[in-house]
Symmetry: C2
Subunit: 178 residues, 2 copies
């Protein structure tokens, strides 16, 4: 992809967020992010789920736990995009973000997002001003950033691949790799 993207998921709580965080991380991978960080509570089971998807479905997406958002922001060599329903519509800001060649850290809130995150981000971006989901917001944002090119992504080394069908299910399985 033209731009390297990592996603930062804030304040993961294993008991409450496991499924939504898993969906979010899988959407990050499927729509072209190369990496994700998460803060909150460390969660071996979510790390294991994501690793298993990468092994089975290919590519080299990685997930890393971080103690807090500040250290991720400080170490990030690129710009920071914070997705929030209070921000500027993504369709208005996308061209400017695309024109900036630096890697992007896309920050996705959890429970309560500290006010400093709004100040430290280079862009605060909304995907509609309506309540919906960080999963749909992230997917739409990446789809717009990559202008649909992420839909042609290949995931090298996959053991499993879907073969599009008008009816039913077809998988291509490489047993030698499983």
């Amino acid at each position: 992809m033209d731009q390297r993207v990592a996603v930062l998921r804030l304040s993961h709580r294993p008991s409450r967020d496991k499924r939504v965080s898993t969906h979010l991380l899988l959407a990050a991978r499927a729509f072209g992010a190369s990496k994700a960080f998460y803060t909150g509570e460390q969660d071996d089971s979510i790390e294991e789920s994501i690793r298993k998807v990468v092994t089975d479905w290919g590519g080299d997406f990685t997930l890393e736990y971080a103690e807090g958002w500040r250290s991720v922001f400080e170490k990030w060599e690129g710009k920071i995009v914070h997705l929030t329903m209070y921000g500027v519509p993504f369709q208005e800001a996308a061209q400017e973000i695309r024109d900036d060649p630096s890697p992007k850290l896309v920050v996705v809130g959890g429970a309560k997002v500290p006010g400093e995150v709004y100040g430290a981000a280079h862009w605060n971006i909304s995907v509609t001003g309506q309540p919906h989901s960080e999963v749909s917001a992230l997917a739409l944002f990446l789809h717009e950033l990559y202008e649909g090119k992420e839909l042609d992504l290949e995931f090298p080394g996959a053991h499993i691949k879907t073969i599009p069908q008008a009816r039913g299910k077809k998988l291509e399985i490489h047993p030698e790799r499983v």
Copy 2:
């Protein structure tokens, strides 16, 4: 919107799916569906959450419980689109679906989707062949179906509205309506 869309969420399990189903239903509303059905276990609390969002944020999105998918399919006066990672890429089928003027029922799987659903749907559509989330799949599909026009949707009667900001949060609140 040009086409009326209702979403059908299959096999909701309150204990496990509450948050993902809520995100899915909110994404349905935010991206232009006018209605949703769900099957599985009836869940007063999810119905109440969605009703509250509609009261606060406007529009007339409704949610209805149905005993099973068959009765919803049978009563549906229009075509049926089933979102599944095994289907035909949405970017290839979107124009055909758009050209069909009938209302669309967009079916989104839960745990195990019965084989008959694949047969009964007019289209089986994938949003990438990768595992991610029904929330991101639905949002991308509606965004493509409506060609981005859903981003300009107005939600009449809202008590609360976000005012886009480059930094921070701004809400417009109509206390007389709250």
